[in-house]
Symmetry: D2
Subunit: 352 residues, 4 copies
């Protein structure tokens, strides 16, 4: 059986995704603080300038930052900047760009994705080298970038040395490296490092920096770490419909999170709550939690009736069916997940 | 000489556009009010449901509303919903979609625009009929929609009967009608009518409803008035990267403006201030204001030195050069424009 | 190891593909016969009319035929006619549209492909049903067509009842059925049926009818069997740059093949020669021929040195590496392959 | 009144276009001569190599040539090679790419065209400079190429010094120069020069070399004169579905025309016949021929009844309506137009 998608406005959304969360108070305050009369539009304002200063401090003096509205926008703008008309991007078969962006890469960016099956959402260097046989062959879309997600869509993490190995392999064969960092904050928090060290320090060329799941209203950015590999991002962002006229308010959201330690505090909370949720579920009879809970996603395999109890109350996606025949759910925690919410879900699962 | 675009972060932005304005207080309050813990993403939340109720009340029971991030997004999503792969949209040569969207209609929507020169930004029924000779001719992009801007990029207004005549002509020949309503609030306020009466009442099929210039942070919407002419908008919005995960906060902005009379108050303020600015500039020696100031844009033709004085202090676009050889500036007022700001600009112009 | 692509202008091309063949004499005569002074361009000529008559006789009275230049053109025009902007096509991972068309489906058609791994190039009904979980889910490209190749890129054949089962499954779930018939002649000859019976008779909606590999200079066509599932093909063919001004000469090629029994004779020759080649290679020590040689492709697994001997003289693609570690070559026969050519290749392989 | 397009399979096609002509005998012979058994596909054959040699001799040692199927294909492949994702091409409003390619530039190439009204189909240097105000402005598609047609869609010619002036202006501002040479043979013949001197000698970067109207079955090519301005053409041609598998037969057609003096003889014939037709029509009462007949198109303004007599028998497009109210027809001659055909049309016009 393939994937199934749950819907249902009457259900409790608390664990459906980390984007069910609201706006972190610091973000709301920053929006309000930036609301001081007239300001130049489209990024020529002082708040956007401050964001650029932050990016250079975090990712290196050559870095550039292009705020956008959402994660799909960040990914597709970034990949268009990396790929010529004939380019393709290697990604995991489970990648968000491959499954959950309505084919925006193909439709807006006219690019081909080269999805690689993975067991855990993580690409390995062989996933790059095995696609290189077609280099120079005009009949095949040319693999000129690799896009990896940190933390992955399966709730796993690349270790920094894994990222470095991938970047080294990619660069050795002329491919650029893009990181879909929709949850880069969760990754950096879990690895107890800075985002700059995790991304620029391991050789990535471009990052989709995710703010929304970390507590923003709607704020992401394309961060260019290596401008030599990227072309025309200013134009691309505009025609990709991701340039905000009142950009100061997008920049303010990003600064509220990443210009302070708010991003880390929010991510650590989400990760810790997921850890807690995983442990409490695993303590129930018949439940096992697939893999380690490395960041903020939990994938419990549960008896059918337990899954049904959860799905009767909560919006919860069946991720797949385990070899046992039992369903595996995906449950996500966010910066806003409370102990009470976890207790309630565990009680529901237990039929208590 | 063609158009020139001004830039300059050191300049006073107050009259550069209506998008230099901040967030209207009611909007900020609504965002805050919607920030109440977990909610379903992607529009399955109660605030989005309330927005849909508003749209049906305003535009008719068949109406649908799709919140998006910005005006370019609204226009290109709307036009993709109206046009098959072989369709083209008739618009004025001065249309925002033709000049100021980085070719997003062509690049994201793969559509051709059929621009018509106009003297005042307004299309006439002949602009439609004169493009119809190619209907059924496979060598030509098929004119299957007309896109008009209300109020126009030249600060003019279509009278309701002009809109009705255009819609009647379009529909008689199988074309759909799209209104770029980036400033529909200014138009409805100036015409002392409701947005619903102005748009649905005159026969439009789809509206790009503009919230940002009216006081939102970043909130627009595609309003479908006649669903029979539109296909796949939910999918199109997604792959066009205009679907907000935390959509409740976009919906809240739109409700704060359009679910109350805030939109009208804000638009009336912008229009009135532009009227005032036009009158005060026209009182200066050597200045004439092109056309009537119908909404919130003023196009004064000024002596070269006066224009230079203004441009030394303000970000102000030279719109064109009058037959006299004197420059024509475009100055915009917003819901936030104050009497003091107007006085200051007029003083600057006068060299006082 | 992934696929490797051979090149080399100094090598004998005879078995590199069936497109190394020249023009079948009947085709050249037909081109010459159509060369009779002025004729209306773009298909309004009598030869094109005759081709349409043939298509209706072969595929049913509702059938339409759109001649195009090449197979990629036929496939991408056909799929654009079947899919709305949000549609995706299920295909095998080995499909030509997925690997060998330079991402034309994605770039020209802005569509997503949903490739399914197969062991033998053939889709099964489960390949359709397993992709249906995302129907109606705006985040995923919508599977609205299935594209299958007959005969397949792996030299296998769908039995007519397999095609019928796929079409039935597809139609039951609202998907249209496209057949990439680049080698439909080889398939129909091998199955001893007519093309009409094989395609229209098993429920396909649209066929890419391949003439070039069967002996044309450059002539393929999109055949619409079920016009209710297709929109705007005339426009799509034009903007996809596949409409010949002097279309009579493309139509004449197709009529020379398919309006007579030339297609069958040419295909039977190619199939029989492949059968012979496979048998003679299999008789060599250490060689096994993967699968049955059903049409005109042979996939021999050979000792490394034998493969090297062949590749030193012939352009021959390594298709993959067998579990034994030995290479598998792809060798193709055409309507023009002679017994002498086969003998020479077998001698080369044998080191004789 | 706008343009009207004539159709009608029952009408005499002789003067409808120059693409109504058949295949020049030398071309048919060359196809036959190239039909010598197996040859490498996709341009790795000896005939294609010979075509490359010709191109280097004609256009300079750096030149590259990419055979394609038709003129739309040549133009859209060429422009994609010149323009990044954010680029736009300046062209005349009457350009074939703007009116007669089904919006292939926009749909396949995702580019914007910047059409300039002209009185005679010819761009002037000001048409370039007046579009430059938006350079660097992210809201506007960036004018990075100019595309001009020689001879033009209005039957006029650029003098070599006019081409040089345009190329000089374009290059001075960073724009590349593309020539749509669908009728470059007619132009070079009329100007009594070589194609190389006319194109490379005046500074063009890329040429769409037109063979079909000059007597080919279906053969055009993208000629790259200045490879430094072009990227990825091999890939672009492939995904634009313009790469012939049996390319030797396309190359053979081009060599038969351009590798000999056949192109000139054919073009001179077409031009001379048009001259004759224009003179004979102008001798009729009430007829005037717009402009000079410079190449092979004649635009006679005729009394309504005379136009009706012609249109009752011939497929003839009404090009526009003269200020007198009389229709202007477009009549085209080709390499195959005979004196008898001219006499017959003139007799028909005269009502004789």
């Amino acid at each position: 059986m393939g994937k199934q998608r749950a819907t249902g406005a009457h259900l409790d959304p608390s664990f459906a995704s980390d984007n069910v969360s609201g706006i972190s108070p610091e973000v709301l305050e920053a929006i309000s603080a930036a609301n001081t009369g007239a300001a130049l539009p489209y990024g020529a304002d002082p708040v956007s300038a401050e964001l650029t200063d932050w990016a250079k401090a975090e990712f290196g003096p050559a870095a550039e930052i292009y705020p956008v509205f959402n994660g799909t926008g960040a990914n597709v703008v970034a990949l268009q900047g990396l790929l010529p008309r004939w380019g393709a991007a290697i990604c995991s078969a489970q990648a968000h760009i491959n499954n959950d962006e309505g084919a925006a890469p193909e439709r807006v960016g006219a690019m081909k994705l080269l999805p690689r099956p993975t067991s855990d959402g993580r690409l390995r260097p062989e996933d790059i080298t095995e696609e290189l046989g077609v280099q120079g062959f005009v009949h095949a879309a040319q693999p000129l970038a690799v896009s990896l997600t940190q933390s992955t869509e399966l709730g796993t993490l690349y270790a920094p040395e894994q990222l470095s190995a991938l970047a080294k392999t990619a660069h050795a064969h002329g491919l650029a490296v893009h990181i879909d960092g929709s949850r880069i904050a969760n990754a950096a928090a879990a690895l107890n490092t800075s985002i700059g060290d995790l991304v620029a320090g391991t050789g990535a060329d471009v990052l989709s920096l995710g703010g929304t799941k970390n507590g923003a209203l709607a704020a992401e950015a394309v961060v260019v770490i290596n401008p030599e590999r990227v072309s025309g991002l200013g134009y691309i962002r505009k025609f990709s419909m991701q340039l905000a006229s009142k950009q100061r308010f997008v920049a303010a959201q990003l600064l509220a999170l990443f210009g302070t330690e708010t991003w880390r505090r929010n991510a650590e909370c989400a990760n810790a709550q997921a850890q807690k949720l995983g442990e409490q579920l695993a303590a129930l009879e018949g439940v096992s939690v697939s893999g380690q809970t490395q960041v903020n996603a939990v994938f419990p395999e549960l008896p059918v009736q337990m899954a049904q109890r959860i799905q009767a109350r909560y919006l919860a996606h069946i991720w797949n069916t385990a070899s046992s025949g039992n369903p595996v759910l995906r449950l996500m925690c966010s910066w806003q997940t409370t102990d009470e919410q976890i207790q309630q879900l565990v009680n529901t699962a237990a039929g208590a």
